[in-house]
């Protein structure tokens, strides 16, 4: 009797589970999905619609053997459609593509430069509200048409989307482009203490590819110039509009102030011998400190940048490893960095009136209530702020050699 009861119970549970656990409504088979790897938005020529470009992985190519990316043709297809909104663009793409577009694997979002200049406000909510969008997406601004950028095949990587993420991550090695994820973008956009910055990518005529296999390439497509993607500095926004950009080296300086700078290789003129050059590896010695005080309605800031330099090469025969020369060289480098920082700050204050450094954060820290801060309107005050820069550079290491080679 008891056993019978148990059996009926178990059947009941199994039957219920059959109905509930299948998840029929949300079933998605992997072979029916088109995995978007990178997504680009550009302003359509009529300025009202967007051009949505989706870089979609070709699964058979990505999963394929070890034979390398370039040989079997592209691993991705790039589809571009004009649509009133991004997601409608997906539907339009699906009219010609047999798999359902999904953003589950998306890692990168690229804005066209024209759209960035027009203002990204209209498209930000697209990136936030839809549940497949993640706040960990990397954001770029592209100087060239996105469909062209996306069709460039990376040389070393199989998956082009990985190429973007790697390119962005490498900024910790050279500091030439900021790494901005969607969450940072939104936080900056909404906080009014700082203006948005985004890395710029663009196409450059390739310099490396020719030497690798120049014979084969020239026979296949003799006329087409090989192009490659490269980071080209930082786009500066004011509110939601791109107002200008700074180049790779200015970006390094910018990142030094915002504390994102890790290390970079730099070369400078020899202070004692005008013909020689000195190379060094600059790395962040300690966090950059910004001090703030206001007096009589004016804002004063003191930026203290602490960097360390490791010598890599000295062209002149001067032995900079001697303590007093070391000190001199440190001061020389510091002066040069200071000059660059001051130039950049002047550019931001006068040309763009955009606080891309986050000085506003320091001002906000002195406020007590949010109302007070909102009434203050930092954007108005930034161009007139007086910013002093102090740079300390200390030579820490000199490599594995003490004195430069000297013919006797």
């Amino acid at each position: 009797m008891k056993q019978k009861k148990n059996i009926s119970r178990i059947t009941f549970i199994i039957l219920i589970n059959l109905v509930i656990l299948t998840g029929c409504w949300d079933r998605r088979e992997l072979d029916n999905l088109a995995l978007v790897q990178a997504l680009g938005f550009e302003l359509a020529p009529d300025s009202r619609h967007v051009l949505v470009s989706a870089m979609i992985a070709i699964p058979s190519q990505l999963a394929g053997g070890q034979s390398g990316g370039g040989a079997n043709g592209p691993n991705v297809i790039v589809v571009t459609k004009e649509a009133p909104s991004i997601y409608e663009g997906f539907n339009l793409i699906n009219t010609s593509l047999n798999r359902e577009i999904t953003l589950l694997q998306n890692q990168v979002i690229i804005f066209g430069e024209k759209l960035a200049k027009h203002g990204i406000q209209d498209w930000l909510d697209h990136l936030l509200r839809y549940r497949e969008m993640r706040r960990t997406l990397l954001i770029f601004v592209s100087k060239d048409p996105i469909s062209e950028i996306m069709t460039v095949n990376p040389k070393l990587e199989k998956s082009p989307a990985e190429y973007y993420t790697d390119l962005s991550r490498l900024s910790i090695k050279h500091g030439m482009s900021p790494e901005i994820i969607l969450n940072q973008l939104i936080n900056t956009y909404e906080s009014s203490v700082q203006e948005i910055i985004l890395p710029i990518i663009g196409l450059k005529a390739s310099t490396t590819a020719k030497s690798v296999s120049s014979d084969e390439k020239s026979q296949d497509k003799p006329e087409k110039i090989e192009k490659e993607i490269s980071t080209m500095g930082t786009a500066i926004f004011k509110e939601d509009r791109m107002v200008g950009y700074i180049d790779n080296y200015e970006t390094q300086t910018l990142l030094m102030i915002t504390n994102q700078f890790r290390e970079a290789m730099l070369t400078t003129k020899d202070p004692l011998n005008k013909n020689g050059k000195i190379s060094f590896r600059l790395s962040a010695g300690g966090p950059t400190k910004i001090r703030y005080h206001s007096q009589g309605g004016k804002n004063f800031f003191t930026v203290t940048v602490n960097q360390e330099a490791d010598l890599i090469s000295i062209q002149s025969k001067i032995d900079y490893t001697k303590p007093n020369y070391e000190d001199k060289l440190g001061k020389y480098i510091a002066a040069q960095i200071k000059q660059r920082i001051e130039k950049l700050i002047a550019k931001a204050q006068q040309d763009y009136q955009a606080d891309i450094f986050g000085f506003g954060i320091k001002v906000r820290n002195t406020m007590l209530t949010t109302n007070e801060w909102q009434r203050y309107n930092w954007r108005k005050y930034f161009p007139n702020a007086i910013i002093k820069v102090k740079v300390n550079v200390s030579i820490r290491r000199v490599g594995v050699q003490l004195r430069p080679p000297d013919p006797s």
């Binding site: 219920i16 509930i20 998840g23 409504w25 949300d26 549940r131 993640r134 706040r135 960990t136 993420t165 969450n183 939104i186 936080n187 909404e190 906080s191 009014s192 954060i361 906000r364 820290n365 406020m367 007590l368 209530t369 949010t370 109302n371 007070e372 801060w373």
Partner: protein
Amino acid sequence: MNNDGKLGYRESLSLLIIIMTGKIFLSFPRDMVLLGQTASWLLVILAGLISLIAFLLLNNLLQRFPNKNILQISSEIFGRSIGTIINCSLFLFFIIITGLFFRQFTESFILSILPHTPISVISLSFIIILIYSCYLGIEAISRLAQFYGPYVLLALIIIFGFSLTTANFQQLAPVLGPGIVPLLKESLPQSSIFSELLLLGIIAPLVREQNKLFKLGLNSLIIAIFINTLFTTLVILVYNYESANKLLFPVFQLARLVAIERFAQRTEAFFVFLWFFIAGLNLSSLFYSTVTSFAQTFRIKNYRPLIIPLGLLVYTISLIPNNMTQSVELNSFEMDNYYAIIFFGIPLLLWIGALIRRKGIRSKS
């Protein structure tokens, strides 16, 4: 009630903590940020301090009337008719809070993993869990709470730890948020955050170690205040207050941000599992309170026949709000005053009643 088992100290502690902190997965952090802006952590602490007073009143009552729950106490102090009215309001509190939380949890599942599934199916499968767990009784629920407690804590620590890498402490400025006065003003209705502590009033006679009742309530409240404050702060640190008050379920978004370089990304699926467990425990204990408060109000000895009808009622209440935003608004901004009144008012009323009518054991003796 006699056929219910007895509860241990740790079991009831984990149950009370889970029931008070389960809401951090819902819109709770966002509501706090909306009201308290950068000082929302302060708001939670202030609300917690106010709840502490309510707890002291509740504790005083429970000490005066040993081995009685809050519903029995109210009918003993005020007699049958007035006692029934008070108990009815308690029952209404529990059924509404169960229904609205139920809706929010199902909505959060839809948002996080099952976007195309109709809400009725999720609700139905969830209500079956509630009904089943309620049949098993509070002892089973609390044991489960104790069993999952450490895992829940571990997952919370993981979310917390990995989110800290993206945290920016400067986002806590301006320190006072909307200012001291608005904060104090908001903290009173927001003591409803901890209003689920009334569950202690219901399970008190079932706790095995009666002398630890005060410690139990106090510890659970303090830990709950701590966890709720921590996660509210974390939300401001990771998103600043302007963007945090626009998020629907901020901690889910936090879990989506968790990434260990490139090795472990998109880990939120693990957290959603945990979330299911918390939702199950939270809702089943709330549902248990609903059922027992109804049974006690109308002096029904065995509460089990009431489970299915009340389950249907909860299911229906959960479908009353037209949409997700309405259910969030209703729970957080329209009902919170009533929750606070019940949470604060009923113990106060009973305490005054007991003093005037000289009922129960004097606490001093």
